[in-house]
Symmetry: C2
Subunit: 422 residues, 2 copies
């Protein structure tokens, strides 16, 4: 059974896609976000667990070679493209002042807390930046699904959560872009350099996003008159082209994919493109999450010293506290209601896709150690499981949907509820 | 602009997908099969033409690296999976005696003529086998589309063409499997070995096809109760798993993909799977045809000696004559009408996907030279362009749809008209 690298990759992808789906399915029956199932599939099948044990004719059945890694990287690009597809610029402007403030403060507080925690424990600047960035973005899909299940999704505070989560997604990606610039160019880190890189990155990101928003919808609308699958081909080319352009500009490719998605979202054939992109994600996205899981070294948790456990515990506490403070206090201010403010804070605790991407990019670039990666992944898993439970409890004794919704809230409500292709 | 291999591959795939679609679109407006446009995109962008001239910052923009090649190989697998999806075993049995005889004789005659032509011109046995195999399969999608355009698709002879084309597709793939075994195991070629390998291959193919037909529909039907995208994931796993299994058994992976497609075709959620597979093919299939085109060395045609031109001319003549004889004579016998027999023969002239796959597999394995490859590709292009023109002319003075259709023909008509994701 001598297979060439392509067939080895096909076998690995086949196993990853299928088992990620099976575990995701089992998890979603148990009302646990299915992305955790896909991650677990990666952990179980990875080289640190069963992966190295399943051997056929002397070679391991699951082999993570360059082709599998390419599928994972393309998976990350597609996930961000899909996220961008769910949000036009109009939606983005509609989120309103409250959402913007809650989102921004909810980014600054976790970032600074994570950054200082890591520095205080003796980690380097790059690691501290990665830990801070991984704490920034709420897993909006999980929060949205829970609010829908609780029948609370039209309440004022629920809309604030969604709006703020949009903002922290974008800021999280911008911060990731900055960190990637630091890692790839190994610029000495001074206050001036940070300001320069952050402003250059944001300016480039803005320029590219505006450029994409002007050019791409025209291309897409032009191709929409073509025969079968022409729009789909144009969408693929837009997503891949923008990713490569972002990379060429020194930004992260996924930031380009997100910009392309936002640009394409305002074209006429958006429904067709959404359907298409979700379908092609079926083959790439589980590889992304599978590889994220496969890099999780269970031994970090079993054979670690007290220092690792202390760091991990502190990280989880920071993850919870920082969103409760950073989102809860501004929300309480805007809503003039302490208990509702706490609910917003609780709703924002879950971390997900963006955090995984931050940690995944960092470990692929050797910017963080395997044990830091394991701690971040553990934090994401715990907050993702915890947030729905706490949120459910917070709403437990309340009637579904109250009458507090005003006309003004209605107008400010975003249409944006991203659905990741999980 | 230092991009890693994945991003280089993304740039190349982006350009291939988009330009293949644009040229395919232009061709289909001009009523030329769009697959020729996709091939031409590859020829133009390949390393032997413009590909090496488009240079950004010192590196070629289009780089065919291992990841691009993997996408092409997966594209070939998906094309055959889609072809399999269009045909259940019931359809396969329905094609009737006439279709089976016309298809089989239409395989034997071109194969032997191509094989002897190559041997007579001094080529080796492997090359002769590849040339023979590349002549075997009709491009069923092109014929079917032309018959529909001419409003002749329900006539008796039209049905015979479709049935026979189904049979020659399968036989063409079986022969390819045999040749791949020869190439990969470098078995000495004796009459006994040929018989042994052909029978082993066919037996393995049959066993795998029956196994797939029993197991896969059960898996697919089981997963059809799952949430979004579970069936799609199971279909992907079936296709990839069967390809790898075929490769492990020493067959060609695409034969496995075809068997998996046929097996899945009888499941309940076939429409969903068809839609999904066509969508994911958008990203892979142009890479397959693009790479097929990119390997076409225009210089073979410009700077070649008289020997090449003689071989090429003879190959095109053999391609036309062999199907006219091999399909036309049995068809005239079954239809008891010489002019209709000729029409069937003309309709079967066009070669396409299977021929490309045969030639592509052979050149990837270094089993044929670049100039032989160019001659085969040229033959495919000429027959594909010629067949619709000749067929149109043959039907020119006839009324659309006659009343010759009998009840019996109706019952024997196959539902199978494969639509390749072009």
């Amino acid at each position: 059974m001598a297979l060439d690298p392509v067939l080895r990759a096909i076998v690995t992808i086949c196993i990853l896609v299928f088992s990620a789906k099976v575990l995701g399915e089992v998890f979603s029956w148990r009302k646990i976000p299915s992305v955790l199932g896909e991650l677990l599939a990666g952990v179980l099948l990875g080289p640190f667990a069963l992966g190295s044990l399943i051997v056929v004719n002397g070679t391991s059945l699951i082999q993570i070679n360059d082709i599998v890694r390419a599928f994972g990287e393309i998976g990350g690009i597609l996930i961000l493209f899909v996220a961008g597809l769910e949000m036009t610029f109009r939606d983005f402007r509609k989120v309103g002042v409250a959402g913007f403030v809650i989102g921004t403060v909810g980014v600054i507080v976790p970032f600074i807390m994570g950054y200082w925690l890591s520095l205080a424990l003796g980690f380097g600047t790059i690691t501290a930046l990665v830990v801070g960035a991984a704490l920034v973005a709420t897993s909006i899909s999980i929060t949205a699904v829970v609010l829908q299940e609780l029948n609370q999704s039209r309440k004022v505070e629920s809309r604030m959560m969604i709006s703020a989560a949009v903002v922290d997604d974008v800021l999280g990606l911008a911060i990731l872009g900055v960190i990637v610039s630091f890692i790839s160019t190994s610029t000495p880190i001074t206050a001036l350099n940070v300001v320069v890189i952050i402003s250059t990155s944001l300016a480039l990101w803005l320029a590219m996003t505006v450029f994409a928003a002007i050019v791409l919808p025209k291309i897409i609308n032009l191709t929409s008159k073509g025969s079968e699958a022409t729009v789909e081909a144009a969408a693929t080319a837009s997503c891949f082209g923008a990713s490569a352009l972002a990379a060429a500009l020194g930004l992260s490719p996924i930031v380009g994919a997100f910009a392309a998605g936002m640009a394409v979202a305002s074209s006429k054939t958006i429904e067709k493109i959404r359907d298409y992109t979700k379908k092609i994600s079926v083959i790439f996205s589980p590889v992304f999450f599978g590889l994220a899981g496969a890099q999780f070294d269970v031994r970090s948790f079993i054979s670690s010293d007290w220092f690792f456990y202390a760091f991990f515990a502190a990280l989880v506490i920071v993850a919870i506290i920082s969103k409760l403070i950073g989102c809860g206090i501004p929300a309480a201010f805007f809503l003039k209601d302490r208990s509702k403010g706490i609910k917003v804070g609780v709703g924002m605790i879950s971390r997900g896709e963006v955090g995984l991407i931050v940690a995944g990019v960092a470990i692929s670039a050797d910017a963080i150690t395997r044990s830091t990666y394991a701690a971040i992944l553990g934090m994401i898993m715990i907050t993702t499981v915890l947030a729905p439970i706490l949120l459910r409890r917070a709403y437990d004794k309340e009637p579904p949907e109250d009458a507090l919704t005003t006309k003004e809230d209605e107008a400010n409500a975003p249409d944006y509820i991203p659905t990741y292709p999980l």
